[in-house]
Symmetry: C2
Subunit: 143 residues, 2 copies
DNA sequence: TTAAATTAAGACAAGAAAGTCTGAATAGCA
DNA sequence: TGCTATTCAGACTTTCTTGTCTTAATTTAA
């Protein structure tokens, strides 16, 4: 299966949301993150490094080092994260996989899916990680 | 990446749509199907066999054998095909991958995604393969 | 009854995604 | 300085998906 985003992308969304919960400037170690989220340590490390490379996160080595948002949480949308990890091809591909499907040669659900896809896009663009962070305040995520 | 359905599922949707174009009862060989759709022969064979197993298609061996729909095209929806191949987990999973996300502990986009997902479901249920078959009448798919 | 055309079945291979491990680099601190 | 905690980088492994191949079974028709 495969629900819109790769596992890596889902992890990225969760991790960035968690970081958005911390005061700006505070760094969080991978160890801390894996304790809250249930994401394999080394896999998460790789994902965070990639997000640093994309400019979404900053990092610092050494004791009291870790990762933090590179910009205010309000300014980072879910789409920024998705685009950095999975890219945005899903906004263009035919849902039935027809290579010929396009505005000129639409498949049977081209229009319907196009509308829905646009709404998914709006959802991702309108939601910033300060908002999704609220999720992490729930009891399931507390120490 | 991963746009909602697996490659196998996309191929299944295309193949069933193509079969829906033929008069009821007429059988189509794998060779014929691969000529129109650009799907690897043996992979398509495997997919068709699975659809026979699921009761969506019928098959017959030997010369002039092949595959055909097991029911009237109007009665087979896209959802029947998707469910047979990929299952319907995508109707339940959290789009951000939070294991805890549910009606009781919704994530930030739980509601928004729930609405969109329901619309995707409606799209699949309301579209039968007689309708999607029309797509295949277009010049790109003619001999 | 034999030959040809087809599906059936399942082992195998290649590729991609997910996850693991190790060693190096860096930073803080005693 | 040297110790420790951390990220960085990349090779490696495992698992899943996608695709290929081979052989058997079935059907039709000459």
């Amino acid at each position: 299966m495969s629900i819109l985003f790769s596992r890596e992308c889902e992890y990225a969304l969760q991790a960035v949301s968690y970081l958005a919960l911390k005061p700006a400037g505070e760094l969080t170690s991978i160890k801390d993150l894996t304790k809250k989220l249930r994401i394999p340590y080394h896999f998460l490390a790789k994902i965070l490094q990639r997000l640093v490379g994309k400019g979404l996160l900053i990092s610092q080595k050494g004791p009291s080092g870790g990762f933090g948002l590179a910009a205010p949480a309000e300014s980072i949308t879910l789409f920024h994260v998705v685009d950095a990890v999975d890219g945005s091809d899903f906004l263009h591909r035919c849902v039935m996989g027809f290579p010929e499907c396009s505005g000129k040669h639409p498949c049977a659900v081209h229009g319907t899916w196009g509308d829905l896809r646009e709404k998914v896009y709006q959802m991702l663009v309108n939601q910033n990680v300060a908002q999704t962070a609220q999720e992490m305040r729930k009891p399931e995520y507390r120490d």
